[in-house]
Subunit: 372 residues, 2 copies
């Protein structure tokens, strides 16, 4: 199976219903990809992910390159085999993690040198190296090294950063050796609509298997993020998947699907779970709150997940207060189930041509307790 | 279902094959009870425990009394319902945890005052209070408050401590309000065979539903522990279950089953798992060892657990080095599976009248790598 994307339907207001085909299976879009930074979606087994409808996960090249090393993983048969996940995987290029985690960064035309956040050792990542590492990992979808434009960023610097990224992306495409991995292009350009348009245009001219919007969710206000998405998607081809990197909250995903985004990834559901914040159809619930100490009800009475079927808020609070591993497990399973259910709801609504109504209903309910 | 014990068979060398019947199900003995200190066997779901053959678990009264509080659990329907475990549960009395965890202990005839290890608040635990707390929790088997004799301990003090314990146990029996919970007696007496004999005799005279040997595995040498067990079991009735508290290693259990012990509990398999030490049929394996970095083989090729069926030593080492929650999960599942398999092996051997051969084979293989 080679990589392909089929656009099944577009809702009147712009939301898209599609289907990704990859060497490891088919993925219905819009889709959320749980993050498995270190070759594991934290606290979950692959079977648990599958049981709640997860079809594709993301893993981080930066982390796996540093530990255990991409060569170790290659020799063990690649990332799928290493982590016992037989579904599709997307790996990022490591660019964003170098930007956000690694000290002593030095960026040049050639690539980026940095110190490992684990042991301070010095490393050099070039577009070509990022491709080599990702080919060793063997993910279904791989990403070119990009330069992440900070926010705020003056226009001249944003353009410079964009030019650097475009150059790196062309080199990435040229360096690619394996045709069974889809390579996406990443649109940068800061919060400048004209730069986003220019970047998208030049990448589309080169031709990639899909297009990602990078450099958002880096501290800007929500409206500005939505504007940036809105100013980019019209310049991307209809027949290729669109991936909004590192996004986001349930609201972010609903707004962005409306703008024509097909793919998302974010640590929010898994990280929030470990911090005791649970997503429910009525908004967020902070499980350590004392009011739940004796509460016999489930996190969300309308939720069908294992956690809600078997455990009370009182028990989940107890596990959280006691720093028990089961707290992370049950909370993560619930939050990912929430995300999967939300995406399924959006897919169904788009198919039914009723995405606008779905969005209104979602905002009405989810907004209720978000300040809790 | 009331509580009962049936002795099915005694092996020529003394090992016993039995069956416990409790309000929450039947337990074949000899049995190992995984420890669920804070109303969860660390890193496991109840379904996972069931999947590897766990029939009965232990939970700690001291911890649950302090957090979330026994009244909270009682109002939520008891410990079984609270933690979603519908099999038998044994709760200890809290005595050992007060002895090992709580600062500012003061022991009197009346009971023991102590400070919480969580927040320093002062508490008073009497035999009557320990019964009340355990009745709120609702376990199938409960234990009387005992005074844990330290090691080493001069004979006079060991006798004093024993007398205190016996007095507390008689008060515990008198204070018991619920007949559907089995109450065990705990034999103390330090490492003095005559005291053990006296204590056992006086408890048996009073009559309990089962008998535990307490105050072992408190720092004494292994041979002394085995001697203490050996000097106690002959004074316990054949038709009641015998529980060796807080023991032990695989070797400890094999030696103690030989001496006629039916029940065990210990944090070793679960705690070792979280610390990266794995039990295999060839001995212990320390997963962080660099030699496993690229090792594609399972922890134990002869093991049928989920971990060994799906993951390499290299992956488990990576998870452990990366401090991933999945490391604790996969390692715990494996170690508990090992313990369950060992107990099943002993039960089968006793039934077949071949326990001595089983023991020899076990020691030959398990001893191989224990120094690794």
């Amino acid at each position: 199976m080679a990589f392909s994307f089929e656009l099944i339907k577009t809702d009147p207001i712009g939301a898209r219903r599609g289907k990704l085909t990859t060497p490891h299976g088919v993925v219905e879009t819009p889709v959320f990809m749980p993050v498995g930074t270190q070759a594991t979606v934290k606290a979950m087994t692959p079977e648990e992910l599958t049981s709640i409808g997860v079809k594709i996960i993301l893993s981080n090249t930066y982390h796996l390159y540093l530990r255990p090393g991409h060569e170790v993983i290659r020799k063990l048969g690649g990332l799928h085999s290493f982590m016992n996940w037989n579904g599709p995987i997307l790996t990022d290029s490591g660019g964003f993690q170098v930007y956000s985690l690694a000290p002593l960064r030095k960026i040049s035309e050639e690539g980026v040198t940095f110190a490992s956040h684990l042991d301070g050792t010095r490393h050099f990542l070039s577009p070509e190296k990022a491709m080599e590492v990702q080919e060793s990992l063997g993910a279904d979808i791989i990403m070119p090294l990009d330069d992440c434009t900070p926010y705020p960023c003056e226009r001249g610097l944003a353009k410079e950063s964009m030019e650097l990224t475009i150059g790196w992306e062309l080199r990435s495409k040229a360096a690619r050796k394996q045709s069974n991995q889809a390579l996406f292009g990443i649109v940068q350009g800061g919060m400048y609509a004209d730069l986003r348009k220019e970047c998208a245009g030049r990448l589309v001219e080169t031709g990639f298997d899909g297009y990602a919007i990078g450099g958002v969710s880096v501290g800007e206000e929500k409206p500005l993020m939505y504007e940036t998405v809105e100013s980019t998607t019209p310049h991307l081809p209809e027949d290729k998947p669109r991936y909004l990197m590192g996004v986001g909250t349930p609201e972010d995903m609903v707004f962005s699907v409306e703008k024509g985004i097909d793919m998302f990834d974010c640590v929010l559901p898994t990280r929030s779970a470990r911090n005791g914040t649970l997503f429910t159809s009525d908004g967020k619930l902070v499980i350590k709150n004392r009011i739940y100490a004796g509460d016999p009800s489930p996190v969300d009475a309308s939720c069908g997940c294992y956690t809600c079927a078997n455990y009370s808020r009182a028990y989940l609070r107890h596990l959280y207060m006691s720093n028990e591993i089961l707290a992370a497990r049950l909370n993560t399973l619930h939050n990912l189930h929430y995300y999967m259910t939300l995406m399924r709801g959006m897919r169904d609504a788009i198919e039914a041509g009723s995405f606008e109504g779905f969005k209104k209903g979602f905002l009405l309910r989810f907004g209720k307790n978000t300040e809790q």
